[in-house]
């Protein structure tokens, strides 16, 4: 009897924690909506589509910020994931044992650096380097929309690079754990069939693919919300541009920059609505990544029903 009541108590407590988390998320959403009501009422869906951001005239549109956030984060994801996977594979599969602990420690140290420090490093080291790189881009490439504009240094490319560096430790440590969770039998089976080391690793990666996607998505989530380092190097100019050289802006950055001085009601509500948009986009991205993982897991199971349960992060 005692054990049973203990069980019940435990279930209720943990259940309450889980419900509290959902309630907090719902509460944040509700608070964002109620605090941005003026802007929602005035601009409606146009807020998502227009690009004017004029605090003087009281005309607000979020498109450049949405564009800048998604562009910089996806670019960072593309840059960071291969590197992070390489680190994870090296550490978990190829690395000599004495090197492993220091390497793990160093990648995790990257995650512990405050973002303002990344930002300062960005301003003083990365941005000048990017500017030098930009001045060496041949004229023939400059005609492409990706490389148009003067070489400022600050801009989309610097932001994506700094985000990529910040995201690598997260993605790589999750990917490493995922690879570690692949049963030894998988690799041994591959070797038994005469696979080379590369083929064996490929098999392990295929086995762990949903977890690896999850690792990438974790990195993307981090990149979407990063504020300080990005605002210091992205140039803070609200424009929708495909150019890697152009100064642009992100949602988190505009909130951080303008919130303290926003005394006007509508302005404040527009800034909070930016927060709401970021919240919604984060939810959508997370939902899509869940969907992707789920569909991959399902198709994997359908093809190879004998496969054991999924390894996950």
């Amino acid at each position: 009897m005692r054990a049973r009541s203990q069980d019940l108590g435990f279930r209720l407590t943990t259940g309450a924690f889980a419900v509290a988390l959902v309630a907090i998320v719902a509460g944040i959403g509700a608070a964002l909506v109620s605090q941005s009501w003026l802007a929602i009422g005035k601009f409606g869906l146009g807020f998502w589509r227009t690009s004017t951001w004029d605090p003087v005239a009281g005309d607000f549109g979020a498109l450049p910020f949405i564009w800048g956030t998604l562009y910089s984060s996806i670019l960072a994801l593309l840059l960071a994931t291969p590197v992070a996977l390489g680190i994870a594979i090296f550490i978990s599969e190829l690395c000599p044992a004495p090197l492993r602990t220091p390497l793990v420690f160093l990648t995790e140290l990257l995650a512990a650096i405050p973002s303002i420090v990344y930002g300062l490093w960005g301003i003083f080291v990365l941005v000048p380097a990017v500017r030098t790189l930009q001045t060496h881009v041949p004229d023939s490439l400059r005609t492409l929309p990706f490389f148009s504009g003067p070489p400022l240094g600050v801009g989309m490319l610097s932001a994506a690079l700094i985000l990529a560096i910040m995201v690598v430790p997260f993605t790589s440590s999750v990917a490493r754990e995922v690879l570690k969770a692949v049963p030894v039998a998988q690799r041994e089976g591959a070797y038994a069939l005469g696979a080379t080391r590369f083929e064996a690793i490929r098999a392990a990666m295929f086995y762990a693919r949903t977890g690896i996607i999850g690792a990438g998505m974790l990195g993307l989530g981090r990149a979407l919300g990063e504020t300080m380092a990005v605002t210091m190097v992205i140039g803070n100019n609200p424009q929708v541009s495909a150019s890697l050289f152009a100064p642009q802006y992100t949602m988190a950055a505009v909130i951080a920059n303008e919130f303290t001085e926003a005394a006007d009601e509508l302005y404040l509500h527009a800034l909070i609505e930016i927060g709401l948009v970021l919240f919604v986009i984060t939810l959508i991205v997370n939902g899509l990544s869940r969907l992707l993982i789920w569909s991959m897991a399902r198709s994997g199971q359908a093809r190879k029903p004998a496969r054991p349960a999924e390894a996950s992060a």
Partner: protein, 345 residues
């Protein structure tokens, strides 16, 4: 909701021991304020010095930005506010009771630049600065710039325009000046702590703007005079309303304020950019403390009354030491008279 805090001597966490030795035990008063970041260095120095003189008065100040200061004052979460741009009529109407403005010190904004091959100071006019920030003047060797700086070897390179990305009183003062001298700027951009810049890149804070200008060849930006001075950044002279090219200094900024004293409005909400007078620096401004005329807590009102009396006189010396320009005597006299409006009993 009134959340004014009346601290007794016993509940001052981390307070200096002198608290206990105050003769009138229990008479200690703790006042909370919030607002502009620009005057934060002088305010924190003033509050510390004043606390040393009057151990029973402790004033806390949080530099959360002018907008935040106005908001918190309006919500009565703090007892006094501070702002770099005076409250608008709408904001005053939204406040629960009448708010008084008291200028405390003066600030100025200076143009900084990084032009390869150019040594020495450049000279700017308001119209030229406005056209640069509108994107109309795009090259350093534009005839308008050459005309102002005939002896400088201005290159034929594109100008990289740098402005503040964060909402800031510095931006407010700068665009207030540009809007006064250029109708096109007023029409297209306007005056606020954050504006919709037609061109350029944004740096966060004075340090962000100055960092970008230092690193980017052929760039121009604007920072607070104090910041330029502390970091030994060279800055340009600006043509004032009388047609003279003036570099920002304590004297030229105080001169701009002195001109304003002649026709000072009773509520001190005045812009002193583009001030008349041959010696006046044109991109200058007061920074204000905000107090309720008739606050609920008269003990705190009395303490702030005494503090302001001290800050306007003895405190001004500390201001010049930190690089702020002191208030001209005429303005101090006007403010001392206006202080009588603060109800202390």
């Amino acid at each position: 909701m009134v959340s004014a805090v009346l601290a007794t001597a016993a509940c001052g966490g981390g307070a200096p021991a002198s608290d206990q030795s105050t003769p009138q035990a229990g008479a200690g008063v703790q006042i909370n304020g919030a607002g502009a970041t620009f005057p934060y260095p002088i305010y924190s120095k003033w509050f510390a010095e004043y606390n040393a003189l009057h151990p029973d008065v402790r004033i806390n100040y949080q530099s959360i930005g002018s907008g935040g200061g106005i908001r918190q004052l309006t919500n009565r979460t703090v007892f006094f506010g501070a702002t770099d741009g005076p409250m608008t009529d709408d904001q005053l109407k939204a406040a629960p009771s009448p708010v008084l403005h008291f200028p405390t010190v003066l600030g100025a904004v200076v143009p900084i630049y990084n032009v390869p091959g150019v040594q020495g100071d450049l000279q700017f006019s308001g119209a030229v600065l406005a056209d640069i920030y509108l994107g109309k003047i795009q090259k350093w060797n534009d005839p308008a710039l050459v005309k102002l700086n005939p002896s400088a070897k201005l290159p034929a390179t594109d100008i990289t325009v740098v402005h503040r990305s964060d909402g800031s009183g510095t931006t407010f003062i700068f665009v207030d000046f540009l809007s006064k001298v250029s109708p096109a700027f007023k029409d297209k951009v306007g005056v606020a702590t954050s504006v919709n810049w037609p061109v350029g890149v944004g740096g966060k804070g004075n340090e962000g703007v100055s960092g970008l200008v230092t690193q980017t060849p052929a760039s121009i930006g604007y920072v607070e005079l104090i910041y330029a001075r502390q970091t030994n950044t060279a800055y340009g002279a600006v043509q004032n309303a009388a047609g003279a090219f003036v570099k920002a200094s304590n004297e030229s900024v105080t001169a701009a304020a002195a001109e304003a004293a002649a026709n000072m409005p009773a509520d001190f909400r005045v812009s002193i950019t583009n001030a008349p007078g041959a010696n006046a620096y044109p991109i200058a401004s007061f920074t204000w403390m905000l107090l309720f005329e008739n606050a609920d807590d008269k003990v705190q009102s009395a303490a702030m009354f005494n503090f302001l009396k001290w800050a306007l006189t003895d405190g001004q010396k500390a201001a010049t030491e930190l690089g702020y320009a002191a208030l001209p005597p005429a303005v101090v006299t006007l403010e001392q008279a206006a202080l009588a409006r603060v109800k202390v009993s």
